[in-house]
Every structure is written in structure tokens, then in C-alpha cells.
Amino acid sequence: MNPVHTIVAKELRSAFVSPVVYVIAAIFLAIVGLLAYSAAANSSNQAIRLMQIQNTYAQLNLNDMLFRPLFRSINLILMIVLPLLTMRLFAEERKLRTFELLLTSPIGVNEIVSGKFMSVIIVYSGLLSLTSLIPITLSAYATFDWRPIYLGYVALFLQGSLLISIGLFASALTENQIIAAFLSFGCILGLWMLGALGGIVGDTTIGHILSYLSFSEHYERLIRGLFNLKDILYYASGIAFMWFAAHQAVDAYRWK
């Protein structure tokens, strides 16, 4: 068995024994479900009103009315929920001293970091796939363009992976899970704010750099259904950078 698979299997086992994952999944799915429901109810209200005014059958664009706001809201929820999924990754190992076992075994730091990262990605992908019930259910009652939905899910996956890699790094810095969660929460918030700052600075080089660094504009483009290699590259490089940072943090632990 490949050592990365070993770590992944162990992480998944540990994750699903503890109630944390179930609680997080339940809260996440409940909020997403509620948001989807209210967005759908709102759209149908608007459709009825429009019919009353125009006296004709009105077809609303569900992509605009429902899915794009929903994807934006899910992003917000992820910013809070994913740090809670990643906080235990390394912090717990440090606290329980099991880190000494890992670091004195013939297994590379890169394999440990990759295994931990992949295990959370798997849990997160599971959560995402459960939310796909929303567009599937809606497709029975309405017609909409599937392409932005697909790309929306690509965006969600990439966005989630980026947030997880930030959490991974934060968890490697401390042995306190709460501090790890707040650290990653802070980093994510800071990255998000960069986008807003870029907007304020405006159409200058610095403004562009700031907006580019933030995930907001890349995520926004993807959920609008615009596929751009630049945005994919942004996420890929962001994840790679955070993975590397986590690797360095783990490696540095032994030098202390």
C-alpha cells in the first residue's frame, strides 16, 4: 500500500469516528438546503408576479436568479466551515505526540502532507456531491443552462481546495485546534478582503494585482460560466503554494 494511501485511509477512519465531521456536514447541508429553498421560493414568487403584470407565461433565468447567488452563499459558508474540517489535521498530531511517530517513520513529509490534504478533499467532495441534489431536483421542474452549473461546481471544488490548503498550513503551525481554525479563518478573510481593497484602489496596476491575488474575481468568473485558464491557474498555483508552505511548516517543527 502506497504511504499516501495509508495516510488517507487513516485520516478518513479518524475523521468518521469523531462526531465533528457529521456535525459539520449536517450544518453545511442544512444551510445550503435552506438557502436553495429560499432562492427557489423567491424565484417562483417573482415569476408569479411577472405573470400577473405581463399576463403571459414568464420564464425566468434560474441561473441568474437562483444558482449564482447560491454559489456565492456557499462560498461564504465554506469560508467558515472548511477551517473547522482542517483544524485537527496537524494540530492534533502535535498535541498527542503522534507526530513523533510519523516523523521517525520511513515516510516523507510530502507524503504526510499530501495524504492529509487528500483526505479532507475527499470529505469535501462528498459534501459537494450531496449538494448536487439541488440542481438535479430543480431540473425536474424547470429548465436552465447546465454549463454554468458544471463550471460552478468546478469553481466550488477549486475554491474549497484552496481553502483546505490554507487550513492545512494553519494547522501545521500550532498544536491548538482552535488557534488553527482561527488562523485559517483569518488568512481566508484577509485573502477575501484583498479583492475588496483591489476594487477600492480601482483600475491601476496595484488594484489589478490585489484583485488577482484574491479569489473573489476568479470564483465570480467561473460561477458566471466563463471558463478561463487564468482562473484555473490561479487556483492551482495557490493550492501548490499553500501545500509547499504546509510542508515547510511540518519540516520546521523538528528543528525547534
Binding site: M1, P3, T6, I7, A9, K10, R13, S14, V17, S18, L96, R97, T98, F99, E100, L101, L102, L103, T104, S105, P106, I107, R254, W255, K256
Partner: protein, 321 residues
């Protein structure tokens, strides 16, 4: 098998290890003895490749810890001070995980699992969650973890701390049974433990090696200044002075209570019989006479003194024990 040359470890400005060198032959059991904070754990962490030394070289089974850490890790089984256990896993799940990160093949793992479960007495609890096990069982799981890949070198950091007397004996027996086929370095802060199971003792104090010797010779050195503790029923103001007159007594001091006296006696001279007769003849009611077990601190005092037999008679007594 283990070769440590001029290893120094500094944490910032604090020096944890100061130029220590020692080597351990194949099949030996060696104790690393020292009080808390002496540098035992730091040395062990350097040996296992967990952290690099600031200066010096470490070779395990011929492999350098810095140049070929991979090989070193394959040849070492390490039980840290706190057993590295995942409390949410069952014993067999945990050991399977350990076997895989130690790079055992599935066949090897299956075979070693059975051996190790019997060896460490874990067969009955293999399906239990580690978090629900007692301290003694957790320590055994920790030991099983270190032994699982059958490493030629075992590094055990205080393997008997926190166990009850029966468990301590069991673990010691287990460690002894591994001698010969394994090279073992274990740390402890108990002098008795070091002398009970080890062929050689390395005494470390404040990051320096104070003494390397066999338990017998160490014991002989330490016995040079034996302390007797005497307890009587009646208090006698003159007794302290009178005890001084007994031949062989170097120094007398008051013990924890007014009825207890501590007597430092000359090396190699057993005065217990004369002492008993003397006390009985004075009719003060002899309640207890025993040799004071040497604490580690006393041992250090003895070992670091250049001339033990002529220690200053005005030095403070070891204190109540």
C-alpha cells in the same frame, strides 16, 4: 550499533546537550540515566532522526542520521515519552497503520502482528479502541508500535513511567527478553531500574555525560558512602554526639524528626551490628535501622565528586527521604 560523536544541541542560547559521545554495541541494553531536563529526550530525538544535532555525528547501524535518515528510520524502533497513539483507532487498526508507514509488506505485517500481539500481551484487546485502554495497556501498544517492524535498534524513552509495580515488572521482563537480538537504549530517572535491567549505564546531567559504567561498578562507587537511617523511640539530647563516637561514622545529622538520625558511614565498613548494640545499650528504644537508598541526586553528588571518601563533613545531608 549506536555511535554518537561529539553531539551538541542548542535551542537558541540554551545548550541542551554539550559535546556528548558514547557508543553502544550490538545486543547491549544500555540505560540512559538522568533527572528530568538532563537531556535524555533530546538525545533520543536526535538518535531517531526526529531532530538534527547542532554539531556532531550520529550513526545507527552504520548509517549516518543526517545523510541517510531513511535507512536510520528503518533500523530504529522508537517509543517516545508519551506513547504516540491514535486514541480513536482500535489496537489492530493502529498497528496496521504503523506497519504500513514502516513499509512492511502485507505478508510481513500479518506475520509480525501475530508475533507482536503475543509478545506484548495485546491479543485480548486487539479489537478495543485505544482510548478505552488503561495506562498499562497503552504503554504496551506503544512498545508494540516500536517493535512492530522488528528493528535492530530500540530507543525507549522512560518505558515504565506511570505504570503500576506489576506492569513495571512485566515491561522490564519484556525488555530483558529482547536483549541480544536487539540493541536497546532506554532512558529512566530511576537508579534502581537502570541497575536492574541494563548491562551498562550512561549517566547524564545538565547535558553532559557524567559517568559510563556497568551497574556493578557504579553500585560499588555509590556504596562507598553509605547512609544509614536510625529511628529511636525516646529522644535523647546526647545521642547525636554519642553516635559520632562510634568508629566508622563520618557524620551524623538529624533526620526528618527529632527521633531520626542520618549517619554517613565509612566506605566498605558495615557498622550496623555495632550500631544496634550501641543503641540497645543506651536503652532509648531502637525502632528502625535501615540503609538509606541512594537517590539520583545523591548519586550525582557522589559521582561528580573527585574524591568521594574524603567528602567534606560539613556538607548538608541528603534531606529527608
Amino acid at each position: 550499533m549506536i555511535d554518537v560523536q561529539h553531539v551538541t544541541k542548542r535551542y537558541g542560547n540554551a545548550t541542551a546537550l554539550d559535546d556528548i559521545s558514547f557508543s553502544i554495541n550490538k545486543g547491549e541494553i544500555v540505560a540512559f540515566l538522568g533527572p528530568n531536563g538532563a537531556g535524555k529526550t533530546t538525545t533520543m530525538r536526535i538518535l531517531t532522526g526526529f531532530m538534527p544535532p547542532t554539531l556532531g555525528t550520529v550513526r545507527i547501524a552504520g548509517f549516518d542520521c543526517l545523510e541517510t535518515p531513511w535507512e536510520v528510520k528503518k533500523h530504529i524502533g522508537y517509543l517516545p515519552e508519551t506513547p504516540p497513539l491514535y486514541l480513536e483507532l482500535t489496537v489492530s487498526e493502529y498497528l496496521t497503520f504503523v506497519g504500513r508507514i514502516k513499509r512492511l509488506s502485507d505478508d510481513q505485517l500479518a506475520e509480525r502482528m501475530d508475533t507482536i500481539m503475543t509478545q506484548t500481551g495485546l491479543a485480548d484487546v486487539r479489537g478495543r479502541v485505544i482510548g478505552h485502554l488503561s495506562r498499562g495497556y497503552r504503554q504496551r501498544v506503544g512498545l508494540a508500535q516500536a517493535l512492530l517492524h522488528n528493528p535492530p535498534v530500540l530507543i525507549l524513552d522512560e518505558p515504565t513511567t506511570g505504570l503500576d509495580p506489576n506492569q513495571i515488572i512485566e515491561i522490564r521482563e519484556l525488555i530483558k527478553s529482547l536483549a541480544g537480538s536487539h540493541t536497546i537504549l532506554l532512558s529512566t530517572h530511576l537508579l534502581a531500574e537502570a541497575t536492574a535491567i541494563c548491562q551498562r549505564v550512561i549517566i547524564i546531567h545538565r547535558g553532559r555525560i557524567v559517568a559510563v559504567d556497568t551497574p556493578e561498578q557504579l553500585g560499588a562507587k555509590l556504596r562507598e558512602s553509605e547512609t544509614l537511617s536510625l529511628t529511636v523511640r525516646q529522644s535523647d539530647p546526647d545521642l547525636l554526639e554519642a553516635l559520632h563516637q562510634i568508629p566508622g561514622v563520618i557524620r551524623v545529622s538529624q533526620g526528618a524528626t527529632a527521633h531520626t538520625y542520618l549517619l554517613d558511614t565509612q566506605m566498605g565498613r558495615d557498622i550496623r551490628e555495632e550500631l544496634t548494640q550501641f543503641v540497645v545499650s543506651r536503652n532509648v528504644g531502637l525502632l528502625e535501622l535501615k540503609t538509606q537508598p541512594l537517590t539520583l541526586e545523591d548519586a550525582f553528588k557522589v559521582l561528580t565528586q573527585t574524591d568521594t571518601s574524603s567528602g567534606p563533613s560539613t556538607s548538608t545531608p541528603g534531606g529527608p527521604h
